[in-house]
């Protein structure tokens, strides 16, 4: 929709109209942002094929790190632990956050303000404080340090992120949405599941994504509340720094990324074929 150079006396280059300009600007900006986000990723995938162990000089193409990775039980075990813990804590955190945000929005509780303050606490408490105090708590509750304690800890510091995002979404919601649904004969329960929840889906999705990432990458809190079998990937990675990061880690990350991207595209394909329409 560019205004073409009009041939003629007063040849003006007509600027594209507002929305188009915005689209272009935002589009190119977003590409730059993605380039920024993926530059280190691209590099680390590249170096997973690097002959050199230290990863700063290119010394030749090799698949040895991938081979070594598949024989590295410890690393693979840590990886699956991270995935397991991440998934379970994300499910719990998302449920807790969504339910909590909705209840606080929908009803007036006398302790509303105090609850809101405490919801913030895990976000603002420095991680080492949370790790140590949770450790002391678990020991006093005679909870053995294992998957359970790690999941509890992860849920505790991720669900506020879900909740806050949810509240932002609810703030902009038309308050009569639920009312309208019930005017049409829905019970509050139906209204919630058929109207509110779909409206909240983007916030649920983004909250879950955030929670999962936070859980996958957590080091300090996990260090204090984990047992020997529930050790996660970040713990192993952190330790490897002392001898130099092993390209096996690059291989692992590269595989994880490729897998995720494939999954995303696959699920989109599935959705399309199921609904029989291309959205």
């Amino acid at each position: 929709m560019i205004g073409a150079l009009s041939l003629g006396r007063k040849s003006l280059f007509r600027l594209p109209d507002g929305p188009t300009l915005v689209k272009w600007f935002c589009g190119s900006w977003t590409s730059l942002v993605f380039a920024f986000l993926y530059l280190p990723i691209f590099l680390l995938v590249l170096f997973s094929f690097n002959e050199s162990k230290s990863g700063f000089q290119w010394e030749g193409f090799t698949l040895q790190w991938y081979e070594a990775l598949f024989q590295n039980r410890i690393l693979l075990r840590a990886f699956t632990n991270s995935l397991l813990i991440g998934t379970l804590s994300t499910l719990l955190a998302t449920g807790l956050g969504t339910l909590g945000a909705w209840m606080l929005y929908r009803f007036r509780f006398p302790i509303h303000r105090m609850m809101e303050a405490f919801i913030f606490v895990p976000m603002i408490m420095p991680e080492i404080l949370m790790g140590v105090s949770l450790l002391v708590l678990f020991v006093n509750l005679s909870l053995p340090l294992s998957y359970l304690t790690v999941i509890i800890a992860h849920v505790t510091f991720t669900f506020p992120f879900v909740l806050v995002g949810m509240q932002a979404r609810l703030q902009g919601m038309d308050p009569s949405l639920e009312e309208a649904a019930m005017d049409l004969g829905a019970t509050p329960r139906q209204a919630f599941f058929k109207v509110i929840l779909p409206y909240l889906t983007p916030a649920i999705a983004s909250g879950a994504l955030l929670a999962f990432s936070l859980s996958l990458d957590d080091y300090i809190v996990t260090v204090f509340v984990t047992g020997a079998e529930s050790q996660t990937l970040p713990l192993k990675v952190y330790g490897m720094v002392r001898v130099g990061l092993n390209p096996q880690l690059n291989a692992l990350s590269a595989l994880g990324i490729v897998l995720t991207i494939l999954l995303v595209f696959a699920s989109e394909r599935l959705k399309q074929s199921n609904s029989g329409e291309s959205i």
Partner: protein
């Protein structure tokens, strides 16, 4: 539900009945057990002493808090807050257009793009940070490219500088900004924006008068999710900054490790948290109702 008459209008902010309390109970129990109790423990620790071994001797003393107000720690507080602030502002500026684009894309593309934003963060942050080190270091990628393009005569030291710290912070917190803004953008009513243009507004006007105010909750949430954790962050600032500018997160960390002074670390942490709570409460008072846009 006993709370509502069947089919009647139910305004939000309604008085809670017993069923609502039941549904609130998971949150309540979780907060009570895993947030309140540890926080109490922390506060108790902050008033305590410790022995030579670093074990906490529960007692009552104000020494730890008094110590927090020494110039050293205050200036470290200050610089940590400054770094977090700068990183947050940059995240807003960089993240908003991206979040806007994703939020306005087709539903299919939206989901893909959103996930693509998060995928880099499913690699270990250590590996990502070391990748940045290999890009920014003296003999790294950036310098090699700039040198071969003859844009600089000698390599620039980009690592272990405030620039590197901010870059590290922005890189790691950008998704925390993009995601909340996205959720606000996603529900923007197209007709509102079209109306703005139809009324003759240029893009700048449309944004400043219509779009940005409508997405303010998302921006606020994003700013919160970046600013707050960024202050206590120490791993990135230490790795990218070289450790010569200590942050409050690093100081607290040290109290629990080398300095073996958990009570002092707890006091610093409690003060940090109080700072936030006070700010939050003050801001909350300004908001008249939960539905102020």
């Amino acid at each position: 539900m006993a709370d509502s008459l069947q089919g009647g209008s139910v305004p939000p902010g309604q008085q809670a009945g017993w069923r609502s309390w039941l549904l609130l109970s998971p949150l309540l129990v979780w907060l009570g057990l895993f947030v309140l109790l540890p926080t109490l423990l922390l506060v108790l620790t902050s008033f305590s002493r410790r022995d030579d071994m670093g074990r906490v001797i529960y007692s009552f003393t104000l020494d730890n808090y008094l110590r927090c107000f020494d110039a050293t720690w205050l200036s470290i507080f200050g610089s940590s807050i400054l770094y977090a602030l700068v990183a947050t502002v940059i995240c807003v500026l960089v993240g908003y257009p991206a979040a806007y684009t994703i939020g306005r894309a087709s539903p299919k593309n939206r989901r893909i793009l959103l996930t693509l934003v998060m995928v880099p963060f499913w690699t270990s942050f250590l590996i990502r940070t070391y990748a940045w080190i290999s890009i920014l270091s003296q003999e790294g990628l950036a310098n090699s490219l700039l040198l071969s393009a003859h844009m600089i005569p000698t390599p620039i030291g980009m690592m272990y500088t405030p620039f590197a710290i901010v870059l590290g912070l922005v890189y790691n917190y950008l998704p925390f900004m993009i995601l909340p803004i996205y959720t606000s953008v996603e529900k923007l009513d197209n007709s509102l924006i079209e109306a703005a243009y139809d009324l003759g507004a240029g893009p700048l006007r449309a944004f400043s008068s219509v779009i940005i105010p409508l997405t303010r909750p998302g921006i606020a949430a994003g700013a919160l999710l970046v600013f707050v954790p960024a202050i206590a962050m120490y791993a990135i600032t230490t790795l990218m900054g070289g450790g010569s500018n200590p942050t409050i997160g690093e100081v607290i960390q040290n109290q629990f490790t080398r300095a073996r002074n958990q009570p002092f670390g707890a006091a610093l942490g409690v003060l940090l948290m109080l700072l936030f709570l006070v700010t939050f409460l003050l801001l909350g008072r300004k908001k008249s109702s939960p539905h102020a846009a």
